[in-house]
Amino acid sequence: MPVEPLKPADFASDQEVRWCPGCGDYAILAQVKKTLPALGIARENIVFVSGIGCSSRFPYYMNTYGFHSIHGRAMAVASGLKMARPELQVWVVTGDGDGLSIGGNHLLHAIRRNVDMTVLLFNNRIYGLTKGQYSPTSEVGKRTKTSPKGAIDFPLHPISVAIGAEASFVARTLDIDLKHMGYVLERAAAHKGTSFVEIYQNCNIFNDGAFSYATDKNTKEDTRLILEHGKPLIFGKDRNKGIRLNCTDPEIVDLGEGVSEDDLLFHDEKAAEPSLAYLLSRMHHPEFPEPFGVYRAVERPCYEYVLDEFCKSSDPPASAEDAEIDALLNSGDTWVVD
């Protein structure tokens, strides 16, 4: 059935948005609403599922079906929903604490099963909702209310985690670059399988400027590397720097001076092995520019579609007699007493 063209505003619910003014979540909400109409999916067939956190308030602001579940468990709720209703389009919104701390287990396993849904992990490197404790993505030494002498734990890198969990689609974008976010969201929504998207998101109240190196006009060209499939890894204001592989390690080289584009690492998001994608995920500021865009997009069967194939059955009849039930109850060894 053709769907009438929707506008971004059609996806706004009647609930007042309650994030702090200036929070990066607003931009993400706006861009998601902008992206959805182009997908051509009716509102009633879209479901947003979230855990708990500032980011996880997201479903309340979307005029689709939505489920604001419990802390860390969005991936599990969404997986069950998709298994029961494979035809729905499901989005998961989670935070760095929600998805990688309390919900780390579920994130790994949903990704490994490749349940067909799009996961947006809003990474602000802080616990926003609970007012500013350090998170599993906070850097070592991060001073917060619960780490007054600086965080001791070594952080997780969401993209590396997703690749380690056998993700079939992995991408990174950031809140203020709407165009790039739009591109990544479209790609993620189109991918069949778990699409894992890390979104750098500024929490201007408890961790302001965590990603300023990547958002600041003056530095962003040198600190970001935009990935393009089949293209060499080039970055810099003057596009004169590149990433070359030195044995198994990436290194920054200046183009010209005896180094040509052909000497650089070429991006291949469809590589069967995730090794290079993982290598990219290990490039961190300030040593390296941080890669943005699609790291990996490969095809793999989706759990819920395979399960659905196994479980085709007749629908229960409206009548009182149900041959399927009778066959089930009479299976195995039976005997008759007259």
């Binding site: 079906y65 929903l81 209703r85 579920h106 790994l108 396993h109 479980c311 229960p316 195995g332």
Partner: protein, 621 residues
């Protein structure tokens, strides 16, 4: 394959004494195949026409050292010409395959009872492994019993070595030899067992033939050497006509859930994580894709219940099954299901706790956790199955209550019901209740109110895909009617009241509490769950012995049947037997202000009939 007419005529006419009821226990090392021997003996007995009840008892460690005391596995079966309700208190015939098994079990044998031992296993090493310095077969330990020492290893080798199996393979057949012996002793037909062997082992004919030969050799051995001066017979029971099958509690639960979903006009989704003694529910439902049943082995119990909640939001009849430790993990998500008012069945196959506790042993100690073990005011309907077959009816009931009242429902069973079995008269689908779900549909663009309640107090079940009903739910407190997030104090009070009232309303749809036994008695035994069999038998015996005792068994624990208070207050004395330290009794005393007395036991074992008889005796003194 050797031919035999063993079941038809024995070499010499045997004198067979008629018995009403017999209890047999097979025990040996966990590698000895005792569960299999027991199940096959049960099948043969039920097909023969007895009423049967069984109690498997296996070790928690699958790979406990061979021959050790923790490695002993047992299977008890009670078969009778009457209606029976328990696997029997004391054992008439014990089969012990090694010293450890004998040591752990012989004290349960009645005086003068039969003990059959596999003599070959009574070696010095095996005796040491069982911590015995002297051989109990020689030192008078067993003087009160009729002991038969059979070289089962040797005899099995003689019978089963011609089929090409290696020594180990041949030796594995000795459980069938032992089974053949006990079948002869009680005149059990071999045919159903041979058919089973053909079906299950037919793919490797050598194995099938060797086991069949061992089975027959056991039978023929008794015949030939006149092992027993006396044999027995247990006549067929007077059983209601119909088609029967044997069923364990977990099979019944699984079938009840699958059936319940179809009676709701829906597909079943089970999210579960393996745990003893609940795993076989997941395994059984995993084998039913043809019923449209989707099973999901999640990464943990939290994911299991959350996936079920997601599936329920999508419109499936959703279930999660587990045991105590898993329930502990599911607590927060159970609250989410209460808050979002989605239908969900939570099966708790209770086992000994706390913590990992006694994984393979039974207990009823999770009732108060089911009542009150969650944060906040978090009421849920709770129902409990009383026998293995009753698990089917209660699973269907759990599904009915869940979809009619839009609520999570806890179904309590336990390890004893889960693994115990009984003959089950197979119901016909047309006689089973039907409760088709009607999802909310959009009403000409009228604003949808996801928390507007119907006369039952339940909210509409609107599922994704329905245009115009797009709405958001979650664990935050809801505004009445609109379902929007709301923290207003009066609204919270109102919503707590509404959720409680809805659960209380379930009482309108459940049967009254029945009084069994003698309703004129002064003494009432109130039970719940798997104590049904032992209480029923004890009460029957007391009444036929001239005492006056009544029995009421609660299958609905929250809310309770509307007449519960009236029933309980009618009696001068109330005893509440429970396999816990007194849980239902707390609720009965506080709700009805009755001076009930507890009879409590937490030994990982069901009540013996005699224990309840003694309690009756002393209460009536």
């Amino acid at each position: 394959m050797a031919t035999s007419t063993a079941t038809k005529n024995s070499a010499k006419p045997v004198k067979r004494q008629e018995n009403d009821t017999v209890t047999v226990r097979f025990c040996g090392d966990s590698g000895d195949g005792m569960q299999l021997a027991g199940t096959q003996f049960t099948n043969s007995s039920s097909i023969f026409g007895n009423d049967v009840a069984t109690l498997p008892d296996f070790p928690a460690e699958i790979r406990a050292p061979a021959g050790s005391l923790p490695g002993v596995s047992g299977f008890q079966i009670n078969f009778s010409k009457f209606d029976i309700h328990t696997p029997g208190d004391r054992v008439d015939t014990l089969v012990a395959m090694n010293p450890a098994a004998l040591k752990m079990n012989y004290k349960d044998v009645v005086d003068g009872g039969i003990i059959l031992v596999n003599e070959d296993a009574f070696t010095k090493t095996n005796l040491q492994k069982a911590g015995m310095d002297v051989n109990p077969l020689d030192d008078g330990t067993l003087r009160d019993y009729r002991v038969h020492k059979l070289p089962m290893g040797k005899l099995t080798t003689e019978a089963a070595s011609d089929f090409g199996l290696n020594t180990k393979g041949v030796n594995r057949c000795k459980n069938f030899f032992a089974l053949g012996v006990v079948c002869w002793l009680y005149e059990r037909p071999l045919k159903p067992i041979e058919e089973w062997i053909g079906k299950k082992m037919g793919k490797t004919p050598a194995v099938a033939d060797a086991n069949t030969a061992a089975l027959r050799a056991g039978w023929n051995y008794c015949d030939t050497i006149e092992l027993f001066p006396q044999a027995y017979r247990v006549a067929k029971a007077k059983i209601a006509p119909g088609k029967y099958r044997k069923i364990t509690g977990n099979e019944a639960t699984a079938m009840g859930l699958a059936t319940g979903a179809r009676r709701a006009g829906k597909k079943l989704f089970l999210g579960s994580y393996p745990i003893t003694p609940a795993s076989t529910i997941l395994e059984t439902l995993a084998s039913m894709p043809q019923m449209g049943v989707k099973t999901f082995q999640a990464e943990d119990e939290i994911a299991a219940i959350c996936s079920a909640i997601g599936a329920a939001f999508g419109g499936a009849c959703a279930v999660t099954s587990t045991s105590g430790p898993g329930i502990a993990l599911k607590g927060e998500a159970m609250g989410l299901a209460v808050m979002t008012e989605l239908p969900l069945v939570i099966v708790n196959v209770q086992r000994g706790g706390p913590s990992t506790g006694l994984p393979t042993k039974t207990e009823q100690s999770d009732y108060l956790q089911a009542m009150w073990g969650r944060n906040g005011e978090c009421p849920m309907p709770i129902i409990a199955a009383s026998t293995p077959a009753n698990c089917f009816d209660m699973a269907v009931e759990a599904m009915r209550i869940a979809v009619q009242y839009m609520t999570p429902v806890i179904l309590l069973t336990d390890g004893y019901l889960a693994n115990g079995s009984e003959p089950w008269r197979i119901p016909q689908s047309k006689d089973l209740p039907q409760f088709p779900v009607k999802h909310a549909v959009s009403n000409n663009g009228e604003a949808f109110m996801p928390y507007k309640r119907d006369e039952r107090g339940s909210r509409p079940w609107a599922i994704p895909g329905e245009k115009g009903l797009e709405h958001r739910i979650g664990g935050l407190e809801k505004q009445s009617v609109t379902g929007n997030v709301n923290y207003d104090p009066d609204n919270h009070q109102a919503m707590v009241n509404e959720r409680a009232a809805k659960v209380a309303n379930v009482a309108e749809s459940i049967p009254d509490l029945k009084v069994e036994g003698n309703p004129e008695a002064d003494l009432l035994i109130v039970g719940w769950g798997s104590t049904y069999g032992a209480i029923t038998t004890a009460v029957e015996r007391a009444n036929s012995g001239g005492k006056k005792v009544a029995h009421a068994h609660l299958r609905y624990l929250n809310p309770m049947p509307k007449n519960t208070g009236e029933v309980i207050k009618r009696f001068k004395k109330v005893i509440v037997p429970e396999m816990n330290m007194g849980q239902l009794i707390i609720k009965l005393r506080s709700d009805f202000l009755v001076d009930a007395k507890g009879l409590n036991k937490v030994q990982g074992k069901p009540f013996l009939v005699s224990e309840i008889e003694e309690a009756i005796e002393s209460a009536l003194k």
